[in-house]
């Protein structure tokens, strides 16, 4: 518990609040053109770095031809990738920096407004990668993507829009790691939808208002109900309708290998709580995309590692390493 508290203390409170606000009502902030709305991109000292050859060198002084792009999850930012460290230690290691040290991948951390629709972020992510490719000081030969929770969904959506717009960057993606991504939705969002629907059904002004307050939650959160990825999944539908699943099937990027990492609440892999609660946010079935036949060998369960911890855990990194080692042999 103390370790957890220390972890949260090490994070910058202002950034955390801003990310939380964007996750909760990010679509509203964007619609009202509020300055607090986060723009997708690469950040340095909390400032968005416009993409140019010179700026890339500011972000990463020694760029290599292999890059690793990390996308954080809902209501998070890139600080959440950092491993927990000792008190008063400001520098943290994370999957990106370790991949740089061990394999020479140049890590790039994307920050984005998690309150927007996944499809909006997916499209912007595709554009961002396309622009990155054109200004990157070296010819990009390989891209590894690590997406935590919603980050994995944004990456998947990004691949879809990159294929649609005939981009080239996605053809260089070799491995994609989805850490606790709700491919088939999250039961937490489903619970919110059911609660608000029941409350709005009761003919009482108080319950109606409570239901309205619950429904204020962002488009990004609502997309997590069934794992929406593209515009067609939500456009033209009532986002507050009771358990209405309009998700379309989106094929995975063919040239890349996809790995689904699943966390669980209990250390015992066979414990019934794991089947009910998954990693406390996403159920195992959803995080594994329903244990799809083609992905059977690409699913890895981490007993006792909960949802958020999947983004900064040495065991998870060791598994990433094992996979990359297997490939290089």
């Amino acid at each position: 518990m103390e370790e957890k508290l220390q972890y949260w203390k090490n994070l910058s409170l202002g950034n955390l609040c801003l990310s939380f606000l964007n996750g909760a009502i990010g679509n509203f902030l964007k619609e009202t053109k509020n300055e607090l709305a986060i723009e997708m991109g690469f950040y340095l000292n909390n400032k968005l770095i416009p993409l140019s050859k010179k700026n890339i060198l500011k972000l990463t002084p020694e760029p290599t031809s292999k890059i690793c792009v990390l996308l954080h999850g809902l209501v998070c930012n890139e600080e959440l990738w950092n491993f927990p460290t000792e008190p008063n230690v400001t520098y943290n290691e994370n999957y990106g920096t370790l991949l740089q040290k061990d394999y020479g991948y140049t890590p790039l951390f994307v920050r984005y407004n998690t309150g927007l629709h996944v499809s909006e972020n997916g499209r912007t992510f595709s554009e961002l990668m396309h622009n990155l490719e054109s200004v990157y000081p070296k010819c990009i030969e390989e891209i590894v993507i690590i997406g935590h929770s919603m980050g994995g969904m944004v990456a998947k959506s990004g691949f879809h829009y990159a294929e649609l717009t005939n981009c080239f960057w996605q053809k260089k993606v070799s491995n994609v790691f989805y850490l606790g991504s709700p491919h088939m939705g999250s039961y937490v969002e489903k619970t919110a939808n059911i609660t608000s629907s029941i409350l709005s059904g009761i003919k009482n002004p108080i319950t109606k208002i409570i239901s309205d307050i619950i429904n204020i939650r962002s488009d990004g959160i609502k997309d997590m109900r069934f794992g929406n990825l593209i515009d067609e999944d939500w456009m033209g539908y009532d986002s507050n309708a009771f358990m209405e699943n309009n998700r379309n099937y989106v094929t995975l990027l063919k040239n890349a290998k996809h790995y689904m990492f699943i966390g669980t609440v209990s250390n015992d892999p066979e414990h019934i709580a794991n089947k009910v609660f998954g990693d406390f946010t996403v159920r195992m079935n959803s995080a594994s995309q329903g244990y799809h036949k083609s992905l059977k060998d690409h699913v890895k369960i981490f007993p006792g590692i909960k949802h958020l911890a999947l983004s900064h855990n040495p065991e998870v990194y060791n598994e990433i390493k094992k996979i990359l080692n297997r490939r290089t042999k």
């Binding site: 509020n34 300055e35 108080i206 307050i213």
Partner: protein, 92 residues
């Protein structure tokens, strides 16, 4: 400074929306006994009138809150612009 402007805008909008929601609850709750009385034929017309008076007076309270919120917002805008200009001068 732009973040401060963002926070100010957000607080202002939240107060505005919040006042609207509370107004709706306020009206709905205070109308509850009147809705029951309205069903008695003899009282119907006088209850309707009472309802209108009540809703207008409740509405005027919340209109006042919204108006104050707008004015405070304008003052905050002016202060933020002034601070912005001062900062620009210092940087120059």
């Amino acid at each position: 400074m732009s973040k401060l402007q963002g926070i100010k805008d957000l607080v202002q909008t939240s107060i505005d929306q919040g006042a609207k929601s509370v107004e709706e609850i306020h009206k709905a709750i205070s109308n509850m006994p009147l809705n029951v009385l309205e069903k008695i034929d003899i009282l119907e017309s006088s209850v309707k009138m009472t309802k209108t008076i009540q809703e207008t007076s409740i509405g005027s309270i919340y209109d006042m809150i919204r108006k104050i919120n707008q004015e405070v917002g304008k003052i905050a805008d002016a202060v933020l612009k002034h601070v912005d200009k001062e900062e620009e001068k210092e940087n120059y």
